[in-house]
């Protein structure tokens, strides 16, 4: 803010007036929100927090402001093991062409009702 807010700081303790100490950034957490009872938690995004207790509070403040949730999980981003983006072919191409793994592949037998 330039031009000076009159209602903010008294100057002496201004957050930006002291020597700026470098500090480590807060660790990253992934946030999962359950929108209502019976549904699963769905990944909503991520945030920074100094520890787990603050992470779940920050998640509340950032991701449930519009009544989105009834339950929250936070997980340290570093604790999540992901599949290798470069291994997409060998990981995910195998099911292609194997339509017989879908129920819709099969034609309904005569005489089977209510399917």
């Amino acid at each position: 803010m330039t031009g000076g807010s009159t209602t903010g700081d008294d100057g002496a303790n201004a957050p930006s007036s002291g020597p700026q100490e470098s500090r480590a950034p807060w660790p990253l957490w992934e946030v999962f929100v359950r929108s209502s009872r019976g549904l699963s938690h769905v990944h909503a995004g991520s945030l920074h927090a100094p520890d787990a207790a603050m992470a779940v509070r920050n998640a509340r403040d950032l991701y449930t402001r519009r009544n989105e949730g009834v339950s929250l999980w936070v997980v340290p981003a570093a604790a999540i093991v992901t599949s290798d983006p470069d291994a997409k072919d060998r990981f995910f191409e195998s099911p292609q062409g194997k339509d017989y793994r879908h129920a819709t592949y099969y034609t309904k037998s005569e005489g089977v009702k209510h399917l």
């Binding site: 009159t6 209602t7 700081d9 303790n13 201004a14 209502s36 920074h48 207790a53 009544n67």
Partner: protein, 274 residues
């Protein structure tokens, strides 16, 4: 209401009493209850204005949103209390927020204290939230059903403000030497304004069971403070109390500047909407 409950994004107002509902109520508060609502509404309004300063300035983005959420909760409480108070005098919440002069405000000195650094703001939040939680927990049983309904909505939100400030008092106090020094300073600068919260003022005698006698909140407040400060390895600052008088319209030099910023737009452009 039914339209928004059908929304796919689940934006539901819930069953909480909204200022818009209060404006339509048939009941009007008597003068004493209206004056009381003004006191509580002004506390919330001025605190919200102070907290709003942090938006874009907090140490982290997450904390920026946390403080903004708390400010918005307080604005919600202020709107309800001021709307209800205004019913007694045929004035709207905006009339009361934007077109009263400094001596007509009934807020305590604590809420007009400068933000200082983050620790000083947290110290102020710590005191306000613990006080408001004790107050609203009692006010849900007010003889005045509207005051009770506003308190019932507010107490849940203030419960979170309490948790938020306690978490930060603990972390700042038990963090680094620098964060502890700032927390101790913040409490020392805040504490002179605690006594006023619990001082009984003449209006209270006229309220009957509609309000809560402030002095009766002191013991539970002190106990709650003590519990946190012990855990934070801190002590209640030994500082003399400041001169109060906010409930009577006597304010420190800070309130005028706060009101100038709060009211300038509405006064420059009366009736403007956006």
């Amino acid at each position: 209401m039914s339209e928004s409950s059908a929304s796919a994004t689940r934006i539901t107002p819930g069953n909480a009493l909204r200022p818009e509902d209060i404006a339509l109520l048939d009941v009007k508060p008597g003068d004493a209850v209206a004056e009381y609502a003004l006191c509580l509404g002004d506390d919330a309004l001025i605190l919200a204005q102070r907290l709003g300063w942090w938006i874009s300035r907090a140490p982290e983005l997450e904390e920026d949103v946390a403080l903004a959420n708390i400010a918005l909760d307080q604005i919600g409480h202020a709107r309800s209390f001021l709307t209800y108070a205004g019913r007694a005098w045929g004035r709207t919440e905006d009339d009361l927020a934007y077109f009263r002069r400094e001596p007509e405000f009934r807020s305590v000195h604590l809420v007009e204290q400068p933000n200082g650094d983050f620790a000083r703001t947290i110290a102020r939040q710590f005191v306000v939230a613990l006080y408001q939680w004790e107050l609203y927990s009692r006010l849900v049983e007010s003889d005045d059903p509207t005051i009770a309904a506003i308190a019932a909505k507010a107490v849940k939100e203030v419960d979170y403000h309490r948790d938020h400030s306690v978490q930060w008092v603990l972390r700042l106090a038990l963090g680094t030497d620098e964060s502890r020094r700032r927390m101790v300073d913040g409490l020392r600068l805040t504490w002179p304004y605690v006594d006023e919260l619990f001082a009984d003022f003449p209006l209270i005698d006229a309220l009957g069971g509609a309000g809560v006698r402030p002095s009766t909140l002191r013991a539970p407040f002190d106990a709650a403070v003590q519990k946190v400060l012990v855990e934070a390895e801190l002590e209640v600052p030994a500082v003399p109390g400041a001169v109060g008088g906010g409930r009577l319209g006597r304010h420190s030099e800070h309130l005028g500047y706060i009101l100038a910023e709060l009211q300038v737009l509405a006064r420059e452009h009366p009736g403007a909407s956006w």
